[in-house]
């Protein structure tokens, strides 16, 4: 008995204009029918756009057959067919996990190398500026002292006061159970002078100034202004980096001191509310705090400022291409700055402990 003839493929008769709107609704149905060899009958199709043509050709590629397009539609189909036949996008081969790890390690080491070289350039620049102070751009330095320092004063005062209030409240609660509220100024004073003053001022500097340095220098890098400086025989380190770094170094002790004083004032206010007169609070502070607590905190703050400024500048000058690069640089500056000051703080904790400070 002869085998039954194979079922004839479905014939889909399209009409009107096959444009983007029509493609949105027709696409699933055509792609479902195409693998069975559906015939796409275009004799009633009056026109198409490139999205419609792309849909018809996708159906053809899936097994469908296009029939009877008018001349204009046939011409458009040919044009889009050529466009789709162009070589596929280049896809970077995916590296094995070990190779990826190796690449990341190498990139990390390269980054450390670049950082060390940048630090070396800054040290040389600073040495040259010390030898010939006229080399330093004083007007620029004044601008950055204003931007990084003076303009940060209101925020620093606000955060310092709130920090002092919070610390005093939180420490008064457990100390009250032992009748030891009198020691709240000792606790808050030591914390602010040695740790929280420099750290919080560092967070403010990293958030306000480190990110601004990175964004400004990043934009200059993306716009090739830094390259232009180099080609004109000018040193970007001396012109762009040194004023910022020196400003960071100078403003941080001031910000730290300001934040500490504001914190102590906030704490004194809370102590007043708890019934302790100001003379008692200042007496406790004078008895327990030493000059080395203050000096150690300010020294740390200066180095934090240096680190934040250097990281901000390096992030900006190392920015890649395109608008995203500036945002990435600002993020690197803030994250890198905060991580750096916490790491440095850890180092200082050990060193101070060893030195008995």
């Amino acid at each position: 008995m002869p085998a039954p003839p194979p079922p004839s493929p479905a014939r889909i008769r399209l009409s009107g204009r096959i444009d983007t709107g029509a493609a949105s609704s027709l696409w699933p149905a055509l792609m479902a029918a195409a693998p069975a060899g559906a015939i796409l009958d275009l004799r009633d199709v009056t026109g198409a756009d490139t999205t419609g043509a792309a849909m018809l050709l996708a159906a053809e590629a899936a097994g469908g057959r296009i029939e009877a397009p008018n001349e204009a539609v046939a011409r458009l189909l040919d044009r889009v067919r050529i466009a789709l036949a162009a070589p596929a996008p280049l896809v970077e081969p995916r590296l094995p996990a070990l190779a990826q790890l190796g690449r990341q390690v190498l990139e990390g080491l390269r980054g450390i190398g670049v950082g060390v070289a940048f630090l070396g350039e800054i040290v040389l620049g600073l040495a040259a500026a010390l030898a010939r102070p006229a080399r330093l751009r004083w007007a620029e330095l004044a601008r950055f002292l204003d931007e990084a320092g003076l303009r940060a004063f209101p925020l620093t005062l606000l955060l310092g006061t709130l920090l002092g209030v919070i610390l005093a409240f939180q420490s008064a609660i457990p100390l009250r159970r032992f009748g030891a509220e009198i020691f709240v100024p000792n606790l808050v004073g030591i914390s602010l002078l040695r740790e929280l003053g420099p750290l919080m001022a560092g967070v403010i500097l990293a958030g306000r100034t480190g990110s601004a340095y990175a964004a400004e220098l990043g934009t200059m890098t993306v716009n090739e202004e830094v390259a232009a400086l180099r080609v004109m025989g000018m040193d970007p380190i001396a012109i762009l980096v040194l004023p910022r770094v020196v400003a960071g170094l100078l403003v941080m002790p001031v910000l730290s001191l300001l934040l500490t004083l504001a914190g102590l004032a906030g704490m004194a206010g809370i102590m007043g509310l708890l019934g302790f007169p100001l003379a008692t609070v200042t007496g406790q502070l004078a008895d327990w705090l030493t000059l080395s607590d203050l000096a150690g905190g300010l020294f740390k703050a200066a180095l934090f400022g240096l680190a934040i400024a250097i990281i901000g500048c390096q992030a900006g000058l190392g920015a890649g291409r395109g608008p995203r690069a500036v945002g990435d640089a600002a993020t690197r500056a803030v994250v890198g700055g905060i991580v750096a000051i916490i790491l440095l703080d850890g180092v200082f904790a050990v060193v101070f402990e060893r030195l008995g400070i």
Partner: protein
């Protein structure tokens, strides 16, 4: 005779007290490549921004596809914006997206196509401008000419009947620039798209322009209209003649 798709009547643009141009009237017919030309600072790009609804006219009116973008209600305005595409001078592609994703984003916003269909259509659009191989690259990873072609691909995402190009050849080498001119002509002839091109690149104007208008800063308005090749050969206005013959004013 082709129908006008753009009708501008007595358009005036001012920045504060400074009048950029006044009383500019012209029409653009369906399917033609219409060029707005003139020297630097004459208001070419402002005229383009005024037509696409970014800068309001100080006086006059402009209708695109029978809709005045400045008086239309929000729905009509949105419908009109779907009918036009713009290629910006620097491409204006989103830096965090690949070229293909830049095209797909428009399709995702304005069509009901699924992800696979959007990817296929984006490949077709990028193929039309010769960028298939660069589809997975970020805008920061391609050349200036490729950026402009990708800008055209994105502008073509919804197959608008009206495409505005702002300085497509600016900053490109002559070969890339000629390639872009050929692409514009190819798209105009194949797709029947109407192009409004703002440029002062003489070679491009003569290669692609069906008709043009010329703006002049000193005259604060339009000083010539017509076929650019005829203007080159027979213009009597001294500024127009100097422009087409590359003579110092």
């Amino acid at each position: 005779m082709a129908e006008p798709v753009i009708l501008a009547r007595r358009l005036t643009a001012r920045f504060g007290a400074d009048t950029l141009f006044r009383e500019v009237s012209f029409s653009v017919n369906a399917g033609e490549v219409f060029v707005i030309l003139g020297g630097s600072g004459c208001g070419k790009s402002t005229l383009l921004k005024l037509m696409i609804g970014l800068v309001p006219p100080a006086a006059g009116r402009v209708a695109l596809l029978d809709t005045d973008i400045w008086t239309a209600d929000n729905q009509a305005r949105l419908a009109l914006l779907r009918q036009i595409g713009v290629m910006w001078q620097q491409g204006a592609l989103f830096g965090s997206l690949t070229l293909a994703e830049n095209v797909e984003m428009v399709l995702a916003e304005h069509t009901g196509l699924n992800a696979a269909a959007r990817a296929h259509v984006a490949r077709a659009k990028l193929g039309l401008v010769g960028l298939s191989e660069a589809a997975n690259r970020l805008p920061s990873e391609v050349s200036g000419g490729m950026l402009k072609r990708a800008g055209i691909a994105r502008a073509l995402a919804l197959d608008p009947p009206l495409l505005f190009l702002d300085e497509p050849s600016a900053g490109l080498d002559p070969i890339t620039s000629a390639g872009l001119d050929a692409l514009i002509l190819d798209l105009a002839r194949t797709l029947g798209t109407t192009f409004v091109v703002v440029t002062h690149e003489l070679a491009s104007i003569l290669a692609i322009g069906d008709r043009c208008i010329m703006l002049d800063r000193q005259a604060q308005g339009m000083i010539a209209e017509g076929d650019p090749r005829q203007l080159r050969d027979s213009a009597t206005h001294p500024t127009v003649r100097a422009f087409f013959r590359r003579e110092a004013a």
